[in-house]
Symmetry: C2
Subunit: 490 residues, 2 copies
Amino acid sequence: MKKITTRNQNYSQWYLDIIDVAELAENSVTKGSMVIKPYGYSIWESFQKVLDKMIKDTGHKNAYFPLFIPKSLLTKEAKHIQGFAKECAIVTHHRLKDSPEGVIVDPESKLSEELIVRPTSETIIYDTFSRWIHSWRDLPLLINQWANVVRWEMRTRPFLRTTEFLWQEGHTAHATEEDAEEETRKMLGVYKDFVENYLAIPVISGLKTESEKFAGALRTYSIESMMQDGKALQTGTSHNLGQNFAKAFEVKFTDKDGKEKYVWQTSWGVSTRMIGALIMAHSDDAGLIVPPKIAPVKIVIIPIYKNEEEAKKVLEVAKTIQEELRSVDENILLDQRDYETPGSKFNEWEKKGIPLRIELGPKDLENNTVTIARRDTMEKLTVASPELKEKVNTLLSQIQTDLFLKAKKFREENSYEIDNWDGFKRHFQEKENSGFVYSHWCGSETCEKEINDELQATTRCIPLDQKEEVGKCIKCSGESKKRIIFAKTY
Amino acid sequence: MKKITTRNQNYSQWYLDIIDVAELAENSVTKGSMVIKPYGYSIWESFQKVLDKMIKDTGHKNAYFPLFIPKSLLTKEAKHIQGFAKECAIVTHHRLKDSPEGVIVDPESKLSEELIVRPTSETIIYDTFSRWIHSWRDLPLLINQWANVVRWEMRTRPFLRTTEFLWQEGHTAHATEEDAEEETRKMLGVYKDFVENYLAIPVISGLKTESEKFAGALRTYSIESMMQDGKALQTGTSHNLGQNFAKAFEVKFTDKDGKEKYVWQTSWGVSTRMIGALIMAHSDDAGLIVPPKIAPVKIVIIPIYKNEEEAKKVLEVAKTIQEELRSVDENILLDQRDYETPGSKFNEWEKKGIPLRIELGPKDLENNTVTIARRDTMEKLTVASPELKEKVNTLLSQIQTDLFLKAKKFREENSYEIDNWDGFKRHFQEKENSGFVYSHWCGSETCEKEINDELQATTRCIPLDQKEEVGKCIKCSGESKKRIIFAKTY
């Protein structure tokens, strides 16, 4: 059986080991792309189900736009293409043919215009919006798309950075600047709600710097989370696009005053990267830990017996329990495999992070009890059978809360306010877990870049939820009114 | 307002008009690809929800495999690549760059091996299966994927044939030939169940001929439906792949007897093409008709009033009705737009095929009644308010049944048994709606091809549900034991 590298030994390898032993994903023969295995995909489906409802409940409708974007379209917004030109998968031909050297690309099938596999869909969607929007009555236009996108990455890492990934991308158009800003922040709030209340990962909402904003946006907001090694992971972004794309794609409407105006736009997205965040925020050296509210399987029942007679009795009760708990979760797993020992079953489901394990043996039957094991704390407790359902409900909600509080406590313990360059420098040079450092910054890209180059400390975001205070840039001592988070990142 | 071409005038244009007025999809700037608009996509989501459950209930698990397939992998199974070589989108470069002529493909970013955008995923999935499968305990391996695929099509038609389309593709591996055949037929049965009982379209299940089978399969089964112009549409296929791919990709397992064996495989899929079938099977000259069990919105309530006072009263009752009917359907639409007349609302929802329309005006309030209009028959009836919920339930199930029976009757009226060449020839040359012709066929590709070339009549399938009878090939008078369906097709 594969051993898991501990977090202390090698955090990076631990992450890969968890993905392996929990059977979440694996590398594929297509370089940079991963195969999302059934268990990993069921977690993604669980994310989708909750988030899709949240997106629809806030008035958005799903639609589907082409995978391929003609080159001329992708290059229409100047800053956008600057941001994506270096990481494009480009389709140039449409036929293979036999040749003495085997199957080759048929040179006669060259396309008159190259097609780019969407790295994101602003251009193709806004080209469409320009035909859908005519009057103020068509606004706001609130669209979402679940899709695969491709960005050519040289250094990939499962879930965190892969050439192809799955995501949702919201795209909206509004009549006024205020409406667009409100939407941008609202969807950032939806992401915060989702990540905190379902994934049990606390986030900081904030504004990205100019150099870190989305290519073509007016401003970008993000939610940032701290992983167990103190590094930051950006788990979602929401962009106020202003009128940049509206002007490039002629997305105009006739307003109530009869005048023709450009729309104000937003886009926002979260991806399979969130599975990476889930792994790194909660899991331990025994395997994955999945918060109950997002767990594809919340409970696994393991029957314990020594002979066929016992097996029969235990399985009968196990099935009754499965039935009884169906109102808690439809997918309660009863692991009936007779060729695996209870011990190896415990191990397997621990590695997959099922929140609760119910053990049921002949002794439990005698005493009319069951044993419950919590995955997060590994605690075991014996429960009288009539109280099982209530106890299970309490435990599931307890685990959800505890995971969040634990992650929040960890973040707080690893957050610092630093106001002098020497201390700042020493902090990032000497501390292995450097966490989140809240410092003043003047807003210049030069300071930002110098800090990054020297200390590999990146600007994460300017937290929205802070009061103004007079301060001096940690690097140049220039004027600053707000703190920004510096952290190492993935 | 756009007028719909009638079916009699021009069936082909009618189909495009329905897609347009019901706001299902539109052509995109990417040639051959369509944009699936929010209402069209909500129908696809409705399909997915039902079918995904059916697929999971039969033991399959979803997973996700890469979009890009290295050329060397796609070419491993000889017949498979023959079938797909001519319709591949090929990625050859990964970077754009500035040049005096504008943004161009950077020649230095040429890939060492070309990547094919998946036309279907047998090759990349079975390459993975070869690592997942070791022993008989790993079998059957039952996987499904929801994905986009690309086949380079020269002549496209929304939903029926587009360069990119959305589908699900099932891929399974089994220990024995019998298990694989059973799975192939079982999934054909799931498709039949889905298309008949949800889409209300009757289907014929049968075996495809050698020339029409999937590239690389041992045999292909399909379900075939008749559209309102008498043409056949293949709405789903299920392939028994035998050991062809297992041998090409070395998918082997150690059996209970300790011997290493190749697995037996199946694959099966349905796509957004089913939306094309839905449109053409049921809709009329007034617009789309959606069967209730698959309708994203089953009921629309239209308030009717002349002044604000009436509006207030009517809307209050309308909301009560919406609440009351929530147990029938969560998405009951109350069309409150004050800038549209009831007439234009009637028209809009008729075009979109909402099964039931509830009209509510001041007179209804006085009489404690509501008016219900059926979309399929356009009948209107007045119902006493206390009986509304029961009546709505009855009507929805009635519409579902009636649509199926109507389509079935149409198919029966347009099905023929023809046993002589002259009659056969005259039938396809003279009848505009040539329907399904059940004739004997010797099994030779020559006869099949000659019939197709001369009469554009294609072999659809050899129905499974028929008794053997001695007959003579309609073309060459060779021996035949079963009839095959000939029809014109899309």
